[in-house]
Symmetry: C3
Subunit: 300 residues, 3 copies
């Protein structure tokens, strides 16, 4: 089984629906050879898209990926690379940064993208996202930075993360965006109801989903809500002969906006579950059973 | 006095502003002859539009209407018929349905519309609504179902019910919708403030209003809020020499989005009050007095 | 130092970014000569735009301004005049008004604008705003009133105040609006996050901000929130060698939607602080420090 693929927007790139999230890469304590093996295992599952950010691992995650790419020539070309910019905070590797701020100036966006290219030892970023909506963002200035990065061949496509619809429509009016990467899970249904996914579907743009298992809370949280979800997940998992986390991911992957789902684990078995989830067609009965378990009340 | 009439959307159908809501038809225990008499009384008041749904009366209401139409040949042609689809729940008449779900697949929409035609013994539905926003709705698939039903002459126009603006704009981008049927009353002002009626007015689409008297709570609820509204309604009713419920309906019918209002009663006197409300021009002083009574505070 | 100037909308008028708010004019107890001197002091600072409303000072503020204009021939032509209509309440000068209502009928809008012209002793209003969103507003009727006022030369441009995005988009679809005047300050960030300023930026329309210092609460409120803001303001003010209120205004004036900010004081020193604020480029570090102080938590 391999991850299905998707053109994520009109005139947008083709990505694997399961995306290798490397948010925690630095905590995995992998040698370069282990990183290469992990990346190769992902490729073998058809997971060709990687999600990064300049800030991940306190500004180390992109470098660790770059080391793996250098260790295995030709490897990087088999991936589509997504990374992000726009957040700055104090860190050992960024001594000049004294404060936690958002920075969406053209200068910072361009410098950050160029730094990401160097860190990851690649020639081009497939998709660059503004990491968080910045109250100070000047859409014309951001669009100008995007245009320059595109013209120089350094970044192919652009998108955003955690944007409301009004913020998305503002920036999209100046430069075509190909995704909005948002948090969504059985424990966080906001984008299903606040219009985010409706706008994506209207624009035929696939959202990307982070924290698809609620950062693990879905399986570790002791609260009533998480417990009720787990009981329902386990029941359906048993009926379908898959794992609970496979069902939890399928619940998202069955959404009609065709979201891409990020993984967050270093275990290949977790990637395999995600691939399985991408193939799993949940019945509406199962889907709404999970909705009820998650919400604690029936649909109207 | 007769109900005023309204073209509910650009290129949309002409309906009576007072709409005969048959949600509770099955509970009225009417013989076919009594049903015909009730429908004829509505027609005499210019109420030519009927509101139905596949699920009303646990899937019996459309059939009861169809019996009346069969009993009085020619009667159905004098009405515009609105019905709905997209909700499924366990019911004696639907033994295959084991669970409460939304279903907006093309297959279900088409099958439901065809079943509604048979149940009501009519050749065409004037307006078919998606009953509830479905998180799993694929707008392209719904539009395809609408197109097929329109091409076959089975359904003339399409709309939605209880949709947010983002949901409305999604489906409207694929197929032109002619209404959004929402709950609104002095006890439920959400669509006045959440943008629903603003969008309708912008698109020159008339919303339809259900539960215009808050399901009766306006006159039976013991809470302070309902009491304050009743005192204000009675005061204005006395000044204008009409009933309190006539004033409560006029409060809605005076909205600039020109909403259609559904009735819910089997009593002809209630229909007459609604017709009277549709003629009643409330002063701004009275309208805002009711607003204040309903909200419990003054306008800013 | 003089106030910077701004074309507030495509094809819109050019205003000073600092706007002389005359909401409290009647409470200032100024003689006509004093009013003239105050207006002249504003002009000397490049504050050429005045904000008024028919209702200010219980319907007296426009008249007091008009007396000053009559007292100093040629003075009024040096200003751009913004005024508002659409609210009615009982007042000694409006004995016919028995109730607090919104009134956006064409008749009222036109009569109110004509009355404002007479009261202020001017030939044309530069910008007329609908003061509050009116649930009963008929956008076509308002647009018709705007068109008539424009055709007769009585009003040059039109806008709104305190409108949600849905309300703005409704009226803007019928007549081009050049601003939305809303409340915003370190204690009221709603328009930064509810999409209001995003829509303004998308349409390249400059919002206007009222209550930029939270009606004074920023400096007088005893609550923890206001205290935390004050500590942060004072710290930054000391670093930049300006006043705290200058920093508080600069926090707004640095927003990328390029808001115009209304003053509310009769003291020329306050106007001078506002002018200074309009020149002050706050660093992102300072801007987000104030955000954190105001919210009581860090940015995500």
């Amino acid at each position: 089984m391999k991850s299905p693929r998707l053109q994520i927007a009109p005139n947008g790139p083709e990505f694997s629906r399961i995306v290798l999230g490397l948010w925690r890469l630095s905590s995995w304590q992998m040698s370069p050879a282990q990183r290469v093996a992990f990346l190769q295992a992902a490729l073998d599952l058809g997971i060709t898209t990687i999600d990064q950010a300049d800030i991940y691992g306190d500004y180390t995650s992109e470098t660790l990926l770059g080391e793996a790419f250098a260790y295995a020539p030709g490897l990087s070309q088999q991936f589509q690379i997504v990374t992000k910019c726009g957040i700055q905070f104090p860190a050992a590797l960024r001594p000049a940064q004294t404060s936690h701020i958002y920075n969406t100036t053209a200068q910072h966006i361009i410098a950050s993208a160029e730094n990401s290219l160097r860190s990851m030892q690649i020639d081009a970023i497939d998709l660059l996202l503004i990491h968080r909506p910045d109250p100070l963002m000047d859409a014309d200035e951001i669009a100008e930075a995007f245009s320059q990065l595109h013209a120089s061949g350094k970044v192919k496509y652009f998108g955003v993360s955690n944007f409301t619809n009004a913020q998305f429509e503002l920036l999209h009016s100046r430069y075509p965006l190909v995704t909005n990467q948002v948090e969504c899970s059985l424990m966080q249904m906001a984008p299903i109801y606040d219009g985010s996914f409706d706008l994506c579907q209207r624009l035929r743009i696939a959202p990307m989903i982070w924290s698809a298992l609620a950062g693990g809370a879905l399986f570790s949280d002791a609260g009533e809500n998480a417990q009720a979800i787990r009981v329902c997940l386990e029941d359906i998992a048993q009926q379908l002969d898959v794992s609970s986390s496979c069902v939890a991911l399928a619940w998202l992957l069955n959404l009609p906006s065709r979201p891409l789902v990020l993984t967050g684990s270093s275990r290949v078995s977790v990637l395999e579950e995600a691939i399985q989830a991408a193939q799993l067609r949940l019945s509406r009965e199962h889907w709404f059973d999970l909705w009820r378990a998650a919400k604690g009340f029936d649909i109207p």
